[in-house]
Amino acid sequence: MSTWESSQPLRDLEHLGRGVARELRARRARSRASERWASLGWFMLGVPAVAIVQRLFDRETDGGWVLSAVIAGVALGVPLVATLLARVLAGRTAIDARDGLARLDHELGAEGRLQAAHEFLGAAERSTFMAAAIDDALPFLARARTHELTPAPAQQAARSSWLAPLLALALCAVIAFVPSLRRASEAAVETPVALATVPDVQRSKRERDARTGDELRVEPPALEREQKQREAGSNSKSDERAASREPEREAKESTGKTGGGRSAEATPTSSTSDSRGFQSSQSQPSQPAEQSKSPPKKPKPPKTREPDASAKKKLDQQSGSTAGKGVGSGSSKNPGSTEWESKDQVSSDEEEPLDDDQDVDDESDESEARGGLQPSLRDRRPAVNRDLTIGFGNQVNPDANGRGGPSEQKKSRGVASLVLGVPIPDHVKGQPNPGKTKITQERVEPRAENAEPLSAAPRTPRADALGRLTRRELSPWMRELVRDYFLSMAKPNENP
C-alpha cells in the first residue's frame, strides 16, 4: 500500500493549507494596516504643523503641554483608529486553504503538485494519472510540513513607517515651546524701538482703518461715476440715435419735395430717373412730363457706407445695359436677370432694395413708350457664354459658367448632354474629380466606296455539302457514362 492510501495526506494537506491561509490572512491584515498607517503620515505631520503655525500668530492662547498633548492625540489617534479598522476588516476576509496550498506550491517549487493532490484526494473517482499525481506530491508534502513561509517584503518596509509618528511627536513637543520661544524673542528685542513699534502698530492700524473707511466712502463716488458714465453713454447713444433719425426725417421731407415738383435738381436723387431723362432727350421728349404724374417714391435709407462704390456700380450697370438706348433699371422679377446677377456679378448687401412699384412703373412706361410692339430691351446684358468646348488635357474650361458645357456640376436643363458631338465629362458622385470625357460623336471623314455592280443571275439549288459540324456527337459509352454520373449525383446521401 502506498503512503497516501490513508486519509492522513488529505488531512495533512488541509491542515497545512489552513495554517498557511491563517498566516496569509494575518499578513494581509498587517499589510493593510501598515499601508493605511503609511498613507496617513501626511495627517500625522500636518496636524501639529498647522498647530505650530497657528500658535505663532495667535498670542493670546497659551495652552502649554496640555494643548500639545491634545494635538498629539488627534494627530496620532485618528490614524491609529483608521489603521486598526483596516486591519480588522482585512482580517475578517477569509482565505481558502487551497490558496494556502498554492502559496506553498509556489515557495517549494512544486508547480501545483500540492494543489492537485489536495483536489484529487477529495475526488470520488480517481484515474491512474490522478493517483500518480497524488503520489508525486508526497515528497513535497513532507517538505511543506517543515517549511516556513518567507516574510513578506511589506513587513520590512513597515519598519520605516514609524518615522512619521516620531516626527509628529517632535512637532507636538515644539508646540509647547512656541509661546516661550516667542516671549524670549520678544524680550531679546524689548527696547524703545520695540516699544515704539506699538504705537506705530496702532497708528498703522488706525491708518488701515481710516484707509478702509476712505475706500468704503470712495465707493459711492465711484458708483456715481459709473452711473454718470452709463447715463452719458446712454445720452450719447440716444444722441446718435437721434442724429441718425434726423437724416431720415430730412429724407422724408426731401422726398416730399421731390415727389412734389419735377425740378432738375431733384432728379439726381434717382439714377434711373436720370438715365430716363437722358433717354427722353433722345427719343421720347414727353417722358419727363409723364414721370411727373407718377406718385412720390418711397424714401430710401441714407447711404453711409461706400457711396462711391455703389455709385460706380450703378454707373457700370447703366453703361452695360444701355448700349446706346439708355434703359437703366431692370426688374427684379425677371428670373433671367436675377440669375444673371446672382451668378455673374458680385452681389453685395449694400445694394438698394429694389422697388417693385418703381419697376412696375418702368415696365408700363416702356410698354407705353414702344407701343407694346417691341420686346422689352431692358435685359440687354452680355449674353451668357455658351461655348461648350472643353480644354485639352483635362483642363478646366475657363469659360465654363455652369450653364452647360464642361462644368463640375450641371445646372442646365440637360440640353448640352443631349447634343451630339458635345464632350460630356462623366461626373461620378463622390469622386473627387470628374471622370473620363465621353464624346458621343466622332468626326468621320466621308470616304468614297467603290462597289462592283452586281450582275443579275438566276438562283439555283444548293449542290455542295453542309460542311463540318462544330459539335461532335458523343459515342454511346460516353453518353451512358454521363447519364450514370448525373443519376448517381441525383441519388441522395450516397457515400462511397
Partner: protein
C-alpha cells in the same frame, strides 16, 4: 476518509508517461539530426502532433520550416504530403476530384481521386498564397478530420495534422488567413534566426558531401496511442481557472481584460483557445514529469496558443502594438492562484 488509490494505478500512469517522454525524445533527436537548433519550434511542433492539433509556422524564408515538417514526417513514418499553395489553386486540387478511369471490361467510370489532403501529415507550404476559397477547403479537414466533395464525405486518416507555413514578408499577392482558419491552429510558432554556433553546424551539414538520412523511429499508431495518454492527464481546478481567465483576459471589456486589451484588441480568443491551452499544458506537464497540469504549464504555452487568436485593432497597428505584446500583458496581469 479512506482513499481508493493504489500503487498499481500510479505505476501504470508512470509507465505511460515514461513511454511518452521516451518517444518524444526519440523523435526530437531524429528531427535534430536534420534540423539544427530551433529547439522551441521542434518542441512546439511535436507538442501539437501529440496534442492532436495543427501548427502554423511563421518565419522568413530559409529558416528550415519546410525541412522541419518533412523531417518529422520521415521520422514518425506518417503518410506525408506537401502542398505548395498558389493563387490559382482550387479546392479540388487539395481535396481531390472525380476523374474518368477505364474499367477492366473496356468501359469507363468516374472515380474519386484523393488529393494531397488525404494524408497523416500535410505540409501546407505558404498557405497564405492561396485564395480564401482554397484556404477554406481546409476548415472542415482541420476541425472535423474529414473532407466533403460533392455528396461524398471522406474521413481523413488518423493521426491527421496540418502544418502550414507562411511568410511574414512579401505580403503582396497573399491572402491573410481568416480568423476561423487561424482559430483552428493549435499553435502559431514564430521561427527565428539561428544562433551563431548553429550557423556553423548548418553550413557543415548542408555544404558537405554527407547526406543525413532520417530514420523512422515511431509510427502513426504510436502517435495515436500517445495522444490518448496526453488526454488522460488531469487538469486541476486552479489550472483550468487560470486558462479560462487568460482567455477571458484577451477579450475586450471582459472581467479579466486589462487596459491594453480594452483599448487595443478588436477580437479576443475563442473557447477553442482555452481548449488549446489545456491540451498544450497537458503535453508540457508530461514532459516536465508531472501527472497533472499546473498553472506554469498553461502560462508556458499561452503565447503560442493565443498570439494568433488575438486580433488587434487599428489603433494598435498605428501604435506598433501587436498580438504578442497583448498576450504578454495579459500574462503579466492575470495571475494564477498563489
Amino acid at each position: 476518509m479512506s482513499t481508493q488509490g493504489s500503487v498499481a494505478d500510479a505505476g501504470a500512469a508512470r509507465e505511460q508517461a515514461q513511454r511518452f517522454r521516451a518517444t518524444y525524445a526519440k523523435i526530437r533527436d531524429e528531427v535534430g539530426r536534420a534540423m539544427v537548433g530551433q529547439d522551441e519550434i521542434v518542441e512546439g511542433v511535436l507538442s501539437a502532433l501529440f496534442a492532436g492539433g495543427h501548427v502554423l509556422l511563421e518565419g522568413v524564408p530559409g529558416l528550415g520550416k519546410t525541412l522541419l515538417v518533412r523531417t518529422l514526417g520521415n521520422a514518425v513514418d506518417l503518410a506525408f504530403s506537401r502542398v505548395q499553395f498558389t493563387p490559382d489553386m482550387m479546392p479540388a486540387d487539395i481535396q481531390g476530384t472525380m476523374i474518368l478511369v477505364e474499367t477492366e471490361g473496356g468501359g469507363h467510370k468516374l472515380e474519386f481521386q484523393e488529393g494531397p489532403l488525404v494524408a497523416n501529415l500535410v505540409l501546407a507550404d505558404e498557405i497564405n498564397r492561396a485564395t480564401p476559397k482554397t484556404q477554406s477547403a481546409l476548415l472542415e479537414a482541420m476541425q472535423e478530420k474529414q473532407i466533403s466533395v460533392g455528396r461524398r464525405t471522406l474521413p481523413l486518416p488518423e493521426p491527421f495534422c496540418v502544418m502550414a507555413t507562411q511568410n511574414p514578408v512579401e505580403q503582396e499577392g497573399t491572402y491573410p488567413l481568416p480568423e476561423a482558419q487561424l482559430d483552428r491552429f493549435l499553435f502559431k510558432l514564430v521561427v527565428g534566426y539561428p544562433q551563431e554556433r548553429e550557423y556553423h553546424e548548418i553550413l557543415n551539414r548542408t555544404t558537405s558531401d554527407s547526406d543525413t538520412q532520417v530514420r523512422k523511429v515511431s509510427s502513426a499508431a504510436e502517435v495515436l496511442a500517445l495522444r490518448h495518454v496526453v488526454r488522460s492527464v488531469p487538469v486541476p481546478e486552479n489550472a483550468q481557472n487560470y486558462a479560462v481567465r487568460l482567455v477571458m483576459g484577451t477579450q475586450p471589456k471582459s472581467e479579466y481584460s486589462t487596459k491594453l486589451v480594452n483599448e487595443m484588441v478588436a477580437l479576443g480568443s475563442s473557447p477553442r483557445g482555452a481548449q488549446a491551452l489545456l491540451l498544450g499544458g497537458k503535453v508540457k506537464a508530461l514532459l516536465a514529469g508531472r501527472f497533472a497540469v499546473s498553472s506554469e504549464d498553461i502560462a508556458a504555452v499561452a503565447p503560442a496558443v493565443l498570439r494568433h487568436r488575438v486580433m488587434v485593432n487599428f489603433r494598435a497597428h498605428s501604435e506598433g502594438i501587436g498580438a504578442e505584446q497583448v498576450v504578454n500583458d495579459v500574462l503579466s496581469n492575470v495571475q494564477a492562484a498563489r
